[in-house]
């Protein structure tokens, strides 16, 4: 038993499973074992009910409506923003911009802030473990503006190799880094990276899509400039996410999209943008989804993010132990072994069996795992693998789910045995 394993796991998974209607159903006549929360999480009844109630009782367009249900809709929409702001410890609620997802949040920064502030030759520093969402917007910018992209490589134990960080940051305008890898599970310590970036004069964007659902995130403690995350990975609905950014940056940034809501004044000659956060929220927003986002934050807050993290450390350790004990050298795990620096995403490769075939066979047992490149093709290239299978754990998973995975993998191994 390592020290990590003695962490007091206060999460009552049996009770939590009961909160998620989808987990009660059977698939192929078997108990659904959902191990793909790094792709999207399941939704508790509290979130489904909040959205349903919104549509049944207070559906109306937000802002400007004077009638009662329009005020209630606006109240629901804006109070959810406050919940999200408190959840990540924003300085003020207006620093939370609603977007569709983390991808849109990063694109918003690339299109608005970066195009206003970066010039040809300006360096942007990324890492080899980034999701395409934090790669392609910068490659688009590089093609359009000629900014230079630099990469922080990985160490042998799947962490960021910071040996040449100072050189990479020299002259850089932006460091864009994931707080937790969706493939490796690696948790990157943001504060020292932000300190180094700021010392070099660079801004810091954090892709917190995997971190916010699984760790207590404090954007002020990180001292980041931009933080992107999605509701659907943290028990909330699809179609909504958040960009947190420093108020002064948001105030100075040009609007991203034009239309209703984002204006203060429009004349035949032009427009004056609205104040933040609405400056960046053109068009009718995802109102029910915002309400669901708020309910998801309430749900996680009630569990306590320290407890969520402790549960995942315990369960990830259990799953890693079982996989190693059962499959030994036949199975390669791509991610740190140290539970203190990794989350609940476990990517692996079986000797001689392709990830898709593994995924297909375990689906027979109603086990949901993901196979492929996980939207991180540059990382796959660095790892030298075409695809991995990924099992990822969340609050509603327990040791029985990990056991079910190991048993199903055993079946797959027999099925494809050479």
């Amino acid at each position: 038993m390592s020290a990590d394993r003695t962490i007091d796991d206060t999460i009552d998974v049996a009770r939590i499973k009961a909160d998620f209607p989808i987990l009660k159903q059977q698939v192929h006549g078997k108990r659904l074992v959902y191990l793909d929360s790094a792709a999207t999480s399941q939704k508790p009844l509290a979130v489904l009910d909040a959205m349903d109630r919104y549509y049944r009782e207070t559906n109306a367009n937000v802002h400007r409506g004077v009638y009662t249900i329009a005020e209630q809709a606006t109240q629901g929409f804006e109070s959810a923003r406050g919940k999200v702001a408190r959840f990540v410890n924003a300085r003020e609620t207006a620093e939370i911009i609603y977007v569709r997802n983390a991808t849109e949040a990063i694109n918003l920064v690339a299109y608005s802030w970066a195009r206003a502030n970066l010039r040809e030759g300006d360096p942007i520093v990324l890492t080899h473990m980034e999701h395409h969402a934090n790669v392609v917007p910068w490659q688009i910018l590089a093609a359009e503006r000629g900014v230079e992209i630099r990469w922080i490589p990985l160490t042998a134990d799947f962490r960021l190799d910071l040996t040449n960080l100072a050189e990479l940051l020299d002259g850089a305008k932006l460091l864009a880094v994931s707080a937790m890898s969706n493939v490796l599970g690696t948790i990157n310590e943001i504060r020292p990276l932000a300190d180094a970036a700021h010392a070099a004069g660079a801004h810091v964007l954090v892709d917190a899509c995997q971190a916010v659902p699984h760790l207590a995130v404090d954007v002020q403690a990180w001292d980041a400039d931009f933080v992107a995350f999605s509701a659907h990975k943290m028990c909330g609905p699809t179609g909504i996410g958040a960009l947190w950014a420093r108020r002064e940056l948001l105030d100075a940034m040009p609007p991203f999209m034009g239309g209703g809501e984002m204006i203060n004044q429009v004349t035949l000659d032009g427009f004056v943008p609205n104040e933040v956060p609405w400056k960046f929220e053109a068009g009718t927003p995802a109102i029910a989804e915002a309400v669901g986002f708020g309910a998801a934050v309430d749900y996680l807050s009630e569990l306590g993010m320290e407890a969520v993290r402790a549960h995942e450390v315990q369960l990830t350790g259990y799953a890693l132990d079982r996989l190693e004990q059962r499959f030994g050298d036949h199975l390669t795990i791509y991610g740190p072994r140290d539970l203190a620096v990794r989350g609940g995403a476990i990517s692996f490769l079986f000797d001689g069996i392709h990830a898709h075939d593994i995924s297909q066979v375990v689906d027979e047992e109603a086990i949901c795992v993901r196979a492929g490149h996980h939207c991180a093709k540059p990382l796959m290239k660095v790892l030298g693998v075409p695809a991995t299978t990924r099992a990822s754990f969340y609050v509603y998973n327990d040791e029985a789910d990990a056991d079910a995975l190991v048993d199903a993998l055993e079946r797959a191994e027999k099925f494809f045995a050479f």
């Binding site: 192929h28 392709h354 898709h356 075939d357 297909q360 066979v361 796959m380």
Partner: protein, 159 residues
């Protein structure tokens, strides 16, 4: 619901474990063509030797799931030694087996035309891959080799 045995027929696993015509050929005279499935990272590499109107030699390499690699192996065995016209008919027949039709079939006339075109085409072992149709996400795995072959034949003919 379809079971695993519908997808992973023994002949498929046999081709996966012991792929036929695996290797490389010098380029030229061979023509090299690569196909990728961006969804799952499957990769198929074909080395084609077309002499006159005959595919006289064919080697395969690449990596991927059992379905993509078995389909590539079975394709190589089916196409080697055949005329380019026959190879193209096999491509059409295989895609029809996968419920993929090159042109929109509006009305029975086109369906009849396809049926007439494919009449007498013997898929043999390839029919074992029909079970893939019940697993829609895997159809791209099965067709990768055939799309790559089509691309290769087009490139050879246009050069």
């Amino acid at each position: 619901m379809p079971g695993l045995e519908d997808l992973y027929r023994e002949i498929i696993l046999d081709h996966y474990r012991a792929p036929r015509n695996r290797g490389e050929l010098p380029v030229p005279p061979a023509h090299k063509v690569e196909g990728f499935n961006p969804l799952c990272g499957d990769e198929v590499v074909l080395y084609l030797v077309v002499d006159g109107d005959t595919v006289t030699d064919l080697k395969i390499s690449g990596q991927g799931c059992s379905i993509s690699q078995a389909s590539t192996s079975m394709m190589s065995a089916a196409v080697k030694g055949k005329s380019v016209a026959e190879a193209r008919r096999l491509i059409r027949a295989f895609k029809a087996l996968m419920s993929i039709h090159e042109s929109k079939l509006e009305g029975e006339a086109d369906g009849d035309a396809l049926a007439a075109d494919l009449e007498g085409v013997r898929l043999g072992d390839l029919e074992a891959l029909q079970g893939v149709v019940k697993f829609p996400v895997r159809i791209k795995c099965a067709t990768l080799a055939w799309n790559t072959l089509q691309q290769g034949l087009d490139e050879v003919e246009s050069s």
